[in-house]
């Protein structure tokens, strides 16, 4: 009896795993993030890091024309996120509640998940021979006489960067929203319809409030990946689309560690700030406590 009790308390329920995990995780994830923030207050002199706290690097970050880069990064990331939300939310809704058969759902989910596992650089470099001056689209346009000269704006401008980022971030937007909508109880929707609610009312009063956690998740994942994107801008922007990640990699190759730290911190802070604004804006319409309570039941 006594032996049984001790086993239950110690090894059996595996509760030892949590303190171990929290310890290792704080050392390997939280400590590096703290160090990152701390290093952003140091500075580089003669290729050496000077360990004296100052705001020099942060001043440098905002004064050396990076403000423009930040604005561009934000603009591209927000545009991409909005387009993905506009296409992803209706698609997720159709997938979860559109009387779709389970086979179609499974196929769509698999198709949405597979891109996570395919190398990004080979997925993106193939757009070059498609959008190129002598590429597929220009050949098509010339052959059908839609255009009389090759369209140069198709590649190495901001346009292909937006376009391909919308495509590659689409699954990150759809999957969280789908998961949130999928757990909404069908009887709630049926009740609303029975009471004469139009599809618009069902969407506004039931699906939108209950799927907000999923929408927020989708926005965070898409925005985070769009803010830190570097494969699309460098491969399809052709050096004309300078974003924050380019600044990070150039500071990294120049071994300006405090600048790398400040820029990386800045990206995280930017993401957190946008998330905070979004949560506060949505709090006016929905009470989050109720959302989570209704999801649990």
């Amino acid at each position: 009896m006594m032996r049984n009790l001790t086993q239950r308390l110690n090894l059996g329920d595996g509760r030892w795993a949590l303190p171990c995990f929290i310890g290792v995780w704080s050392l390997l994830v939280i400590a590096p993030l703290v160090v990152l923030i701390v290093f952003s207050f140091f500075q580089t002199q003669y290729f050496m890091t000077v360990y004296k706290p100052s705001l020099y690097t942060w001043n440098d970050l905002f004064s050396s024309g990076r403000f423009e880069v930040t604005l561009r990064t934000l603009r591209i990331a927000l545009t991409v996120t909005l387009i993905d939300l506009a296409i992803g939310f209706p698609f997720a809704l159709w997938l979860a509640k559109g009387k779709t058969s389970r086979t179609v759902q499974a196929i769509a989910l698999a198709l949405l998940t597979i891109p996570f596992f395919i190398d990004l650089s080979s997925r993106i470099i193939v757009w070059r021979p498609i959008l190129d001056e002598h590429g597929l689209i220009n050949n098509f346009l010339l052959a059908t006489h839609i255009a009389s000269a090759p369209q140069h704006w198709l590649l190495y401008t901001e346009w292909p960067v937006h376009f391909v980022m919308v495509i590659s971030n689409f699954p990150m937007m759809v999957l969280p929203i789908y998961m949130a909508i999928n757990v909404i109880d069908d009887t709630l929707i049926a009740a609303c319809q029975d009471l004469g609610g139009s599809p618009f009312r069902v969407l506004r009063d039931i699906i939108l409030p209950l799927s907000l956690p999923g929408i927020l998740g989708g926005i965070v994942f898409t925005l985070g990946s769009a803010l830190a994107a570097w494969v699309e801008p460098s491969m399809l922007g052709g050096g004309f689309v300078d974003v924050l990640s380019n600044s990070i990699s150039s500071a990294y190759s120049a071994l300006r560690v405090p600048m790398v730290a400040a820029l990386s911190t800045f990206v995280v802070v930017l993401l957190a700030l946008l998330l905070l604004i979004l949560t506060l804006a949505m709090r006016r319409f929905v009470r989050f406590g109720e959302v989570f309570r209704s999801m649990k039941s």
Partner: protein
């Protein structure tokens, strides 16, 4: 049937076009994800892939691929790292995922564990680089790439495991211990078989996420090279190497895609049967 009260307002929202629009714009984007992959495969057989027209067809790129020795090393290293990351992630996710539902502070712990999902890859890579290389002065290499990959794939693995562990019926374990089973017996004979689909799923996610990871690896590589890093450096610097990348990507796709389809078929059929 469902409209007992005659619709009077928001008539526009009854239009058939909305579900159709939602459906086809989504499928359209999915086509835009997959059509370029097919195009990539087609171009890999072209003699001049950068011209954008798959004509004339030949196998020269594949012959060049066979004679280019550079990619086999990174490929095998990536494979090895991915296998280890998958294994480590699955084991840790299994133990942490089992313990979380029993903890009084489950919400906080899950939030901390999911933190890497919300930190952009560049930032996390830079943070780990500064912490390990600059602060601790360690020599980076395969081990640090692996560490970065485990941190990156763990949240995904944990979510998969938590789906099953939060629904786990603990009365089964009590019944087992009432019948005299020890803790490891309870784990191996009852808990593990029930959690196996989630643990395998977690391991597969770890493997596949690690195999394609590039953002964190670039910071954590030291002098080591993995397959995605090799692809990235070739694709971004040397134009002459691009035909080889096309055929290499096609070969990898030809292996990975059927495998993935099999995995998903397996998962969905299993879930369907389990219901």
């Amino acid at each position: 049937m469902s409209n007992l009260v005659a619709p009077s307002r928001d008539l526009w929202s009854y239009a058939r076009i909305w579900p159709g629009l939602a459906k086809w714009s989504g499928w359209g984007l999915l086509i835009l994800i997959y059509a370029p992959l097919a195009w990539l495969a087609l171009l890999s057989f072209s003699t001049r892939p950068l011209s954008g027209i798959p004509y004339p067809l030949s196998l020269t790129n594949y012959a060049a691929l066979v004679h280019t020795p550079g990619w086999t090393g990174p490929f095998l290293i990536s494979l090895g790292i991915a296998l280890l990351v998958g294994l480590i992630t699955a084991v840790i996710a299994c133990f942490v995922g089992r313990a979380i539902p029993r903890s009084p502070r489950a919400g906080t712990i899950v939030l901390i564990a999911l933190l890497p999902l919300f930190i952009p890859g560049v930032s996390l890579g830079a943070a780990l680089f500064i912490f390990l290389r600059v602060l601790l002065g360690l020599n980076l290499g395969y081990w640090s790439i692996m560490l970065g990959h485990v941190i990156w794939s763990f949240p995904f693995a944990l979510i998969i495991v938590l789906v099953l562990t939060t629904r786990f019926d603990h009365r089964l374990l009590e019944a087992a211990s009432d019948l005299g089973a020890g803790p490891w017996r309870r784990f191996w004979d009852i808990e593990f078989p029930l959690l196996r689909p989630a643990i395998i799923g977690a391991g597969l996610f770890g493997f596949l996420l690690s195999f394609n990871e590039v953002q964190r690896s670039i910071f954590l590589r030291g002098t080591a090279t993995t397959m995605p890093i090799w692809n990235w450096t070739m694709a971004s610097s040397q134009q002459s190497q691009i035909p080889i990348i096309f055929s290499l990507a096609t070969v990898i796709l030809a292996v990975v895609l059927p495998l993935l389809c099999l995995v998903f078929w397996f998962i969905f059929v299993r879930i369907e049967k389990g219901r």
